[in-house]
Amino acid sequence: MSEGLHTQEVSRDTRLLPKCAAIVVRDLQLLVRRPGQMLQILGFFVVVTVLFPLGYSPELGKLRLIAPGVLWVGALLASLLALEGLFRDDAEDGTLEQWLLCGQPLAALLLAKTAVHWLLTGLPLTVLAPLLAVTLGVSIEAAPGILLALGLGTLALSLIGSIAAGLTLGLRRGGVLLSLLSLPLAVPVLIFGARATELVIQGDSPTAALYLLASLVVLAITLAPLAAAAAVRIGLE
């Protein structure tokens, strides 16, 4: 038979990058198969932002004041909800096990997975935000600042959430616990983010707050994948 030679003889591609690429390709395929997932997250974001004026007040003048809070809380909740499925689906159907067994550094694979997840949820959320801000009475000039702040913020949230997603893997309905665990870590992001957005809306320069956000992102990129890998190993036991 020609189908199998053994490891000693088999030419095995041991580079890391093609594996990360395979993960990205697969997740895009999955998105094409069920675009509903992404649309639902966006829908949730819209709904939270729309609900608030319903429960509060329809006056744009008042709404503008609470706009940063509403946008950020909405984005935070939507990101956290989306994160629930980050590793869970793969764990449940047994494919995540195979990631652990493929002989590549797990942290790198999880970083790839988290990055593509952000591309498919965090980025669309970010793009949507300025539009929603307009419905809350914010002027369209604030768009670039809002984009930058939310882009950085959701990226940090995705990374932070990946740790909690790993930790809650072993649990049946980890969703709520995931939010709870991510929250203490997400608070700084929320505070800087909302601060930057508020400055932008008022027409001031948000540079300092944005720098802080960016440094949080850098910190998260360095540490979160390692913690997530440890968490996933434990979660899969």
Binding site: M1, E3, G4, L5, H6, T7, Q8, V10, R12, D13, T14, R15, P18, K19, A22, I23, V25, R26, Q29, L30, R33, R34, D89, D90, D93, G94, T95, E97, Q98, W99, L100, L101, C102, G103, Q104, P105, L236, E237
Partner: protein, 214 residues
């Protein structure tokens, strides 16, 4: 010299001391069949060897080198087939295999095509896995196993859900793997139709360690 040697394996699950001081060796071309009643610890043993479950103590030697069951190099030579087939329900069989094998760096379309043919899975390889029957999924997982060309196979009840033709295929594939110098550990309740010279057997009894049978 055995390629794989397991010494002094102790595993607890919850309160239970499931494996107590188990020793086993497997040489190239040998299959170790793991038997034992329900709950004896077959699945536990295989998952510990994959590094998916922690052991209380374990001395593992692979290709003459002591290693941990979480070593990347050891993983590269190993394939594990669990109770459930590791397939994403929303992707087709073909896409699933492509991903799985790319992850291991051994994706070759023609080889996989030939294997699909052989396992009678070509017909449904382009349908989303969600719409496949239990046995059809199993066949796809077997293609992935063979195509990953690992030297060590760890199989947990590989014949579950397979019809009789499928069961025969599994033993055939296994025999070929052994002839090529592969190793296998197979947990199963059915008797394997493999050359007796290549077959060893390890009988686990609930919680009382293991007895070597043949």
């Amino acid at each position: 010299m055995p390629e794989l040697s397991i010494e002094n394996l102790h595993v607890y699950r919850g309160e239970q001391h499931v494996l107590r001081g188990l020793n086993a060796q497997v040489s190239a071309g040998q299959c170790l069949q793991i038997t034992g009643e329900n709950g004896a610890g077959k699945t536990t043993l295989l998952r510990v060897l994959c590094g998916l479950l922690p052991a209380e103590s374990l001395q593992l030697t692979w290709r003459g080198r002591v290693c941990s069951p979480q070593d990347a190099e050891y993983h590269q030579g190993l394939s594990y087939l669990s109770h459930a087939a590791p397939l994403k329900a929303d992707l087709t069989g073909w896409e699933n295999l492509r991903f799985l094998l790319s992850l291991r760096g051994v994706w070759q379309a023609e080889r996989v095509g030939a294997l699909l043919e052989r396992l009678g899975a070509r017909r449904f390889a382009d349908r989303p896995v969600r719409s496949l029957s239990a046995g059809q999924r199993r066949r796809l997982a077997l293609v992935g196993l063979v195509a990953s060309q690992s030297q060590l196979w760890l199989l947990d009840e590989p014949t579950t859900n397979l019809d009789s033709a499928g069961t025969r295929l599994v033993t055939e594939l296994l025999s070929e793997h052994l002839e090529r110098g592969g190793l296998a550990m197979v947990a199963t309740h059915v008797s394997l139709d493999i050359a007796p010279s290549a077959l060893q057997s390890l009988h686990l009894t609930s919680g009382d360690g293991a007895r070597r049978v043949a």
